[in-house]
């Protein structure tokens, strides 16, 4: 891994205009639109807290769109054309390729986060987080992005075709969005079994009750840590299976 491999991957990631729009511009526009209409009936004193909850929740779109969907689309497109196979034949390993893509995607994520913060924070009356809550939140988004990156990389490596990979990741994207309460149904209104699944998702834990910790209230880290561990294990298993299936035989 060096600056040239990172540059190559970053420019490649940046070329995906959809990722930039849905990962950086779209959450800003959506937050402005939703906050305007949804806050009409909220008492004036509660508005900052309500808009902050939306701000935290909307931020979950960033790793999901700019990393999970974007990477699956970009990488499966490469796999469809046998580009990674060619790179491996130049002596790179699957791990090299993943690490280069991970770093470049983190740079892209940073760009998206900056756009999100610049496009929302100065224009909205947000509750300020405690230093620890803000730091953990940012760290959590990067950790979640890394986990989602492993998952999408594993799925793409296993399937190797753009169409089916995009279909699977898009279905998972909407499933995570719905189960995490970002598509109109709040987590508390979900049926019992779905609520159980929802609790296992970091997107639920990092976007809903995290508000309590943000506001400096008492917060139980157990479910957040548990969801991160669950998602990490799942993604790692998918990735390792993919590497095992596709590894060179000599």
């Amino acid at each position: 891994m060096n600056k040239y491999t990172i540059k190559y991957e970053f420019l490649n990631t940046l070329y995906n205009g959809y990722a930039f729009f849905f990962g950086a511009v779209f959450p800003v526009i959506l937050l402005h639109l939703i906050s305007k209409s949804a806050l009409k009936d909220v008492p004036e004193g509660s508005k900052p807290e309500a808009v902050t909850a939306m701000f935290i929740g909307m931020a979950m779109i960033i790793p999901l769109a700019s990393i999970f969907l974007s990477h699956a689309a970009t990488y499966s497109n490469e796999l469809d054309k046998n580009v990674p196979e060619r790179i491996l034949l130049f002596g790179f390993s699957e791990k090299n390729i993943l690490m280069n893509k991970l770093i470049s995607n983190f740079i892209f994520l940073t760009l998206c986060m900056v756009i999100y913060l610049v496009g929302t924070v100065p224009f909205m009356d947000l509750e300020k987080p405690t230093f620890v809550a803000g730091t953990v939140w940012i760290f959590g988004i990067y950790l979640l992005s890394g986990i989602l990156m492993m998952l999408s990389h594993g799925i793409a490596t296993l399937i190797r075709k753009f169409g089916p990979t995009y279909g699977v990741t898009m279905a998972l994207y909407f499933a995570m969005m719905i189960l995490s309460g970002y598509m109109g149904i709040s987590v508390s209104d979900l049926p019992k079994q779905l609520k159980w699944v929802s609790d296992l998702l970091p997107t639920t834990q990092l976007g809903n009750s995290y508000m309590d910790f943000w506001m400096g209230k008492e917060y139980n880290f157990g479910p957040l840590v548990q969801s991160m561990l669950f998602m990490s294990a799942l993604s790692l298993v998918v990735l390792l299976i993919a590497f095992k299936v596709r590894e060179r035989k000599n």
């Binding site: 040239y4 060619r86 130049f90 000599n250």
Partner: protein, 284 residues
Amino acid sequence: MIRLDNVRVNFKEKVALDLGRAVEIEAGERVGIIGSNGAGKTTLLKSILGMVPHKGNITLGIPSSEIAVHMQQNEYIETVPIRIIIEMIIGCKIRENPKIVEMIRFFEFEDCLKKRWKHLSGGQKQRLTLILVMCRDTGIVMFDEVTSGLDFETRRRLMSKLVEWYKDKETTLLITSHYYTELENLATKILYLKDGKVVDYGSKEDLFRKYCGNSVLIFEDDGKASEIAKEHKRILSGEGVIALSCTDIAEELEITEKLVRNRINYRRSDNDIELMTINAGGKR
């Protein structure tokens, strides 16, 4: 040294490769792997690289990841200029790597560096992979149908550049090709595959002597030529062509004299791979 011991590759029910014997390639040898479509040439290279599951043993002097290889199909991303792709693979600026600078100049590739992959012509695409493959410092280099899809002139220029580049190097080369004449200047040994099996393997000269004799005289098949051919040992050759095998110089001179006296144009060869292949395979 590379040792391929009874290597066998199956794709479901189909046997794609079944060498049925041991093939040893010494360090520094240049092996031309020949055979028609579906003979197992690419499958053999892929099994050496570990890209397809195989039975039997493959022993390489180096890890398979260190082999430099030019496959038939080589694809790159279209989202960045070629310069970025090259720098990613070599891990530094182009100007900081004298070897790659030399290769780019050698292949007259300077004007392509700002272009994207999809804007390169077929020949330019082949040259990009060649540059990247040939500048790798490794003991084994493999070329799979390196000139396929190129016009005659580009093929000729590419092959002469390959010959020139590897002239004084100790690299072990494995080259597959449909165009046998291209191998004549590059290969020292021939591995002839047919239906996934080894027809024969050995030095170019030994195989030629085994199947064609000391030398061969080749001329067009017409009335007088046929009469002359009847008096000598005729071997298999292409359609409308007579090939006479000569056991020694005396016989060669005898036939030559007859051809000259009858004003028949002829060609002489003692290393024609195509003719050797026709006779080894037993097919006209």
